[in-house]
Subunit: 282 residues, 2 copies
């Protein structure tokens, strides 16, 4: 028997991966969760049938989600991660010795449990003493808490279903309110190949929420739609791209990274014409 | 009926595209040629069943194949393109007013004919008076000709079948001999996701052939293996990356490009750690 998982990224294009089998499946009140064992990308986590992360290429997504924001901040000690129940963002944040507190706000407890069970290399930081986990809607925790953060990272699914509210001006306004002075918001912002309208709407909503800049950067992620992904960073001051050049991690910290280096981080903000024209940058 | 084209990039991973139908199929003495009409990527050219180019994303590959080498050369007037029978590389070269002569050396006449018939926007430069087309093996023409070029562009298929010889030290030596002083060799160099060993072998072969540098750069190409592609530039002088910053095209020339700009060109040489470590750069 040959078992192939196929994800349609649009009604007419997709990726197909040969699987050894299904390791786990469950349906929670929020979504369906599956873990497949693929031949090419190792174990793969799916939410509502869509690829969230794979053992082989998760490093690109998670490193790019975290290290740009960290380098654009003077010295981030308190970080809020919304979504990201797999723990990949947390793992990257904990590389910084000066990070004191990471609050992970994941709506679905079962995502965290599944990652702990099947993705030990991704979830490895979730038990760290600097990490606090709450199972809550990201929008709700921003309303309820008085705490303020240096960085807020939005590690969400696509803007459908549970994550829809995480792409709105209301949500970005709440993020702004929960950021300390000099704070940075960073969010995954979908594929430049298939989701340009979403990227444009995100930028508009972020700026409408009162942020003074919203800048996109990109990287290839083989198992994501179009094989090409984007993230957006926003802040209320000036966008100081040169800050990325600083070495913030101990030398061995950079050595452990498989994708990010400061030169590449700086370069990732140079957008191709079609994208720069669509999102109206810089 | 639903018709889906699936290309396996490895035995266990691939891309799948919905098709409206087959527009053309033929078998030449070198290979099988197909033209499919896809819903998401427009018309698609296949050689031996593998995606060579699609209307929707060809601009990324062709712009990145040509403009880096052009910007790394002082002023390239005579260019040899080996392979590239679809005409995409030629189209990009003709944007430069100072390019006097483009010699296109394509082994298979039927590729040129197919592109002229089905891909008018890609093959549009093939009738230009500055372009000369010969139907010949790339290795053979380098042996036979006394002509020398400012730039040699290797726009080949994968290192199997007809193109195998275009990835050898013997071939790169012949290229070096056919380059004028300050000349630049540029070749597509496969996917950093799936073909790292090929990239390493190419670099080794290029340096063994007497080039003093061989530097990789990358870009996302959705329909290519891993959605992530690489190219290599080689020369006999010093690698002067700052040359990419120069504006070589008239303003409207840059405005017509959909992917390349000089800032992005410079940035495309910043490699992710996993790739830099594998190919031993810089």
């Amino acid at each position: 028997m040959e078992l192939w998982y196929t994800e349609k990224h649009t009604p007419a294009a997709g990726i197909t991966l040969k699987c050894k089998g299904t390791l786990f499946s469950t349906t929670t009140r929020y979504q369906r969760i599956d873990v497949l064992e693929t031949e090419e990308y190792g174990r793969m986590l799916l939410l509502d049938g869509l690829v969230m992360t794979t053992e082989r290429d998760e490093f690109i997504y998670h490193e790019m989600l975290v290290h740009l924001a960290m380098h654009l901040h003077e010295r981030a000690e308190e970080v809020l991660v919304i979504g990201g129940g797999d723990g990949g963002a947390v793992r990257e944040l904990l590389r910084y010795p000066f990070v004191k507190k990471v609050l992970l706000c994941e709506i679905d407890r079962q995502v965290v449990e599944t990652s702990k069970r099947f993705f030990p290399d991704i979830s490895c930081g979730l038990g760290d003493e600097r990490v606090e986990i709450v199972f809550e809607d990201g929008s709700k925790i921003l309303k309820d808490t008085e705490r303020k953060f240096d960085i807020i990272i939005v590690d969400s699914t696509d803007p459908i279903g549970a994550a829809k509210g995480l792409f709105t001006e209301t949500f970005y306004s709440a993020c702004k309110k929960a950021l300390k002075e000099g704070g940075i918001l960073c969010a995954q912002s979908e594929s430049p190949i298939y989701h340009l309208p979403t990227m444009c709407e995100m930028k508009k909503a972020i700026l409408s929420a009162g942020f003074s800049f919203a800048r996109f950067y990109t990287a290839p992620v083989p198992t994501y739609p179009g094989g090409y992904w984007s993230w957006v960073v926003a802040g209320t001051g000036t966008f100081e791209i040169e800050m990325i050049k600083r070495n913030l991690l101990p030398e061995e910290g950079y050595a452990e990274l498989k994708y990010f280096n400061t030169k590449l981080g700086l370069a990732s903000f140079s957008l191709p014409n079609f994208l720069e024209r669509a999102v109206g940058e810089p």
